[in-house]
């Protein structure tokens, strides 16, 4: 029995990309402070184990190897779009960030930074106004933000001109989030981008972005490169947020109306009693 936050201990977390395992040596990583080794065997099957050989639960979905260290209460997050035949799942790699997982998820939900941190790609000064949007609770837990709109000069590799992009954001598990955004070619269908934050420790994470994009002439390599470029713009921001753990108390930081989804995310984490990688509302921020 671990004393670590049961919410994360009993949940599934991605720990490696299958494409990396197939083309390279075993991956050594850490999940919730527990060292792991993940390897592919000669038949292309994947094996994750703890270095202390305590058993764990393993699964493989969407090009990622998933691990649960405790007792899984539910399967790996279901992604219905992954079953649509014209959307190949493209993993973007394991990207390390020296901050708590919830900070990584919150940054993904953030609309106000697009025009600055991702200037000339996902937003641009002076088109940086965040128009009102709606945030609701999801019936199975988590939050959904709808009606988000942002002017984007280059929303994706296939975009040839700037346009107003419609977004929906979801957080279905504490360290899993996704967005739906209008595809520049199929403007009536949505590209789906997931971001999973693997909690290495309370203040270190590995981000695993996953793309489920519609065919628009962009290669998997281009999609990957673009997403890496975007995420690496966020890395220094995330690593310069103080404190590293996400403070959950209302008033610990100063949100405005544009931060509605971030406020809802923090409140939801408080409500479910998350303790790992956060500063709970009753504790005082350092």
């Amino acid at each position: 029995m671990s004393t670590i936050d049961p919410i994360l201990w009993n949940d599934w977390h991605p720990v490696a990309e299958t494409c990396t395992l197939l083309s390279g040596p075993p991956v050594e990583t850490v999940l919730l402070g527990v060292p792991l080794v993940i390897a592919a065997d000669a038949d292309g099957a994947f094996h994750a184990r703890r270095t202390d050989d305590v058993p764990l639960h393993q699964d493989e979905r969407y090009g990622l190897v998933w691990v649960c260290l405790g007792t899984p209460e539910r399967p790996v997050l279901a992604i219905p779009e992954a079953d649509e035949p014209d959307r190949p799942a493209v993993t973007v790699g394991s990207i390390r960030v020296q901050t708590a997982g919830p900070r990584v998820i919150e940054n993904f939900l953030d609309l106000g930074h697009l025009g600055y941190v991702h200037a000339r790609y996902l937003g641009d000064d002076p088109h940086t106004q965040v128009l009102p949007y709606k945030v609701d609770a999801l019936p199975e837990g988590g939050i959904i933000a709808t009606g988000c709109k942002m002017f984007q000069p280059q929303a994706s590799p296939a975009a040839t001109e700037g346009f107003m992009v419609d977004y929906v954001y979801k957080v279905e598990r504490p360290l899993a989030t996704c967005l739906y955004k209008a595809n520049p070619v199929h403007r009536d269908r949505f590209d789906v981008i997931f971001l999973f934050a693997q909690p290495v420790s309370e203040e270190e994470s590995i981000a695993h972005p996953l793309l489920l994009c519609l065919p628009d002439g962009t290669t998997a390599a281009d999609l990957r490169t673009f997403q890496q470029l975007i995420f690496m713009q966020d890395k220094p921001i995330l690593e310069n947020q103080v404190p590293k753990r996400l403070p959950l108390a209302d008033g610990a930081e100063l949100p405005i109306a544009a931060d509605k989804s971030s406020v809802a995310y923090r409140r939801w984490l408080s409500k479910i009693g998350m303790t790992y990688g956060v500063i709970p509302a009753q504790a005082r921020a350092a």
Partner: protein, 206 residues
Amino acid sequence: MILYDAHHVAPAYAVRLLAGFLGLPLELQGMDVYPGHDDRSDEFLALNPLGTLPVLVDGDTVFTDWQEILAHLALAHGPDWYPATDPALVGWLGIARDLAASAGAARLMQTFCVPGDLAEAKAQAERLLDEVERRMWFAERAGHGWLLAGTHPTIADIAAFVSIAPCEDGGLSLRDRPALRRWCDRVRFHPGFVPMSGVFPPMANT
């Protein structure tokens, strides 16, 4: 001119940065290095048997060393960037190569989980950063803004900048290296600057 390039590879960024300062158009050939390993493909290894990025193809000539590419572009298009009569240029380019092997390597380990000896890479980088900081502080007091004496930045500044400016991605810190932070600002504000993820462009006029 075709540049075989990956956005996050610091030596490739050095070439894009110099091209930006010189106003040179480059045709970028993007490579999926991580996790795609395009750099290990037969096609790429035929071009550069060492498998390193960047590679520049200029007419019939293929350049496979990043510092040689900087020298080539500067000699051909901006001799101010290549003070051939100053022996310090050689020393600084050597330090920049050592920085790429230490601070640059730490950054790749701390970004893409590239395996390696992080503690050793960081220890070596700390020694180099301390020394570059010391030299830069005295250069500033003597009225210079760049690594080499003189009023114009050189390819040495570019070669060192691409490892130093994003070094915090690798778990190093510039906090107690104030002269390096000011020098990074001077590079960022130099006309023609282009960013890389992890190095912010000046916001003032964006």
